[in-house]
């Protein structure tokens, strides 16, 4: 990889100043970025490490109705800290990659990268999460802009993510065994009568909400309520691991499983 300079800020404002420099790039846990640097898919002149920013670390259960996660918090920390208050989110975090990856990879890194097969975007969309940056708050519905694209500006930093805790929730992940990313993952959340269904791994446009399933499940929260639905394979990902038709099929199957598991 090309060489680069480092900055090690200890506060969000120091990090934001460092990231304002030309060619600067934030480094979370590095589980995607470091392999990308090796392949020279990224060549920043300055890496700004976020791990030393205490105000961006940790998990708070806020007023019993939200899990608030610092942007530089690892998946392993979320898996353990949210286990009682939001088991579906904890399960999602505890099944990303493998244990060594979960000890490094961070929530903020995952959401900033917005890999189309990452798990966290599904949780963020299904719960209506709020993504807080160093200068604003972005609702999940406004945040995801397509494959590897987000609403973040150049140099903007995810400081905290607030996940509202649903009345019922479940995440189903059909794992691509080599990468351990989701071939398809579906997060179902129910708040009162309102059901939300978010799908990752399937669409060429990144994680999305399946509106027809949400409408059906908001009227009747049972897997039978979506049995007559189908989802179009247009714009679904196709690769050697699965066709677009297969991913469309998995989307419905996993949604039904998630509803059954959450009911």
């Amino acid at each position: 990889m090309y060489d680069f300079e480092f900055a090690r800020p200890t506060t969000v404002s120091e990090a934001a100043s460092a990231l304002a420099a030309e060619g600067a790039q934030a480094l979370g846990g590095g589980q995607t970025l470091i392999p990308s640097l090796k392949n020279r898919l990224a060549s920043p002149s300055l890496l700004v490490i976020l791990a030393g920013i205490d105000e961006m670390r940790g998990v708070d259960i806020d007023a019993g109705d939200s899990v608030v996660v610092g942007g530089a918090t690892t998946h392993a920390e979320v898996a353990s800290a949210a286990a009682d208050s939001f088991p579906a989110l904890a399960w999602l975090a505890g099944n990303i990659g493998d244990p060594a990856v979960r000890n490094r990879g961070t929530v903020g890194g995952s959401l900033a990268n917005n890999d189309p097969s990452a798990c966290y975007p599904a949780a963020a969309l299904a719960t209506g999460a709020t993504i807080a940056t160093n200068n604003r708050k972005i609702s999940a519905d406004d945040y995801f802009k397509g494959m590897f694209e987000s609403a973040l500006y150049e140099g903007e930093l995810i400081t905290k993510v607030r996940f509202p805790i649903p009345d019922a929730a479940n995440y189903q992940k059909f794992e691509q065994p080599a990468s351990r990313f989701a071939l398809v993952g579906v997060f179902v959340a129910r708040f009162g009568q309102e059901a939300r269904v978010a799908v990752t791994g399937a669409s060429e446009n990144g994680a999305f909400r399946w509106a027809e399933a949400e409408a059906a499940l908001s009227a009747d929260f049972s897997s039978g309520a979506i049995s007559d639905l189908s989802i179009s394979a247009d714009e679904m990902i196709r690769d050697l691991h699965g066709s677009s038709t297969y991913r469309a099929h998995l989307t419905k199957v996993l949604t039904a499983r998630a509803v059954d598991a959450a009911s």
Partner: protein, 159 residues
Amino acid sequence: METVNLIVNGSAFSGEVEGRKLLSDFLREDLRCTGTHVGCDTGQCGACVVHVGGKAVKSCSMFAWEADGMEVATIEGMADEESLGDIQQAFQDSHALQCGFCTPGMVMSAAALLDENPNPTDAEIRDYLEGNLCRCTGYHNIVKAIRSVAERRASAGAA
């Protein structure tokens, strides 16, 4: 160059390291701890697993200076001068290795698992080894070795 201070297997190290140097390369080239293996160098195979701050990490997917101020444990720290550590001994006893390339990472992952969960089920052992690939023996004897360590430690603790 970046200045790093870290403790590797109980010994303090202080010195300069190039910013882009990976922890795996630093351990192997600068400290000559060549027991940490680099298999895929992409974070998939787990041969390079070491402990940083008591947690299993892939040393090919972090920079050496990110371990600044931390304690690092590698496979070299698992044995004393006289004998193998109990996990290493169990791997030998159970024939849990063939070529041995993946073994350092397997042992370090197993050690982290048993720290977190002293009495894992077979399913939990297999789940924890998800990021450690073995291309020779298969995983059966590795699981057996780790289970035997858990059992031996439990009976030693109870005695």
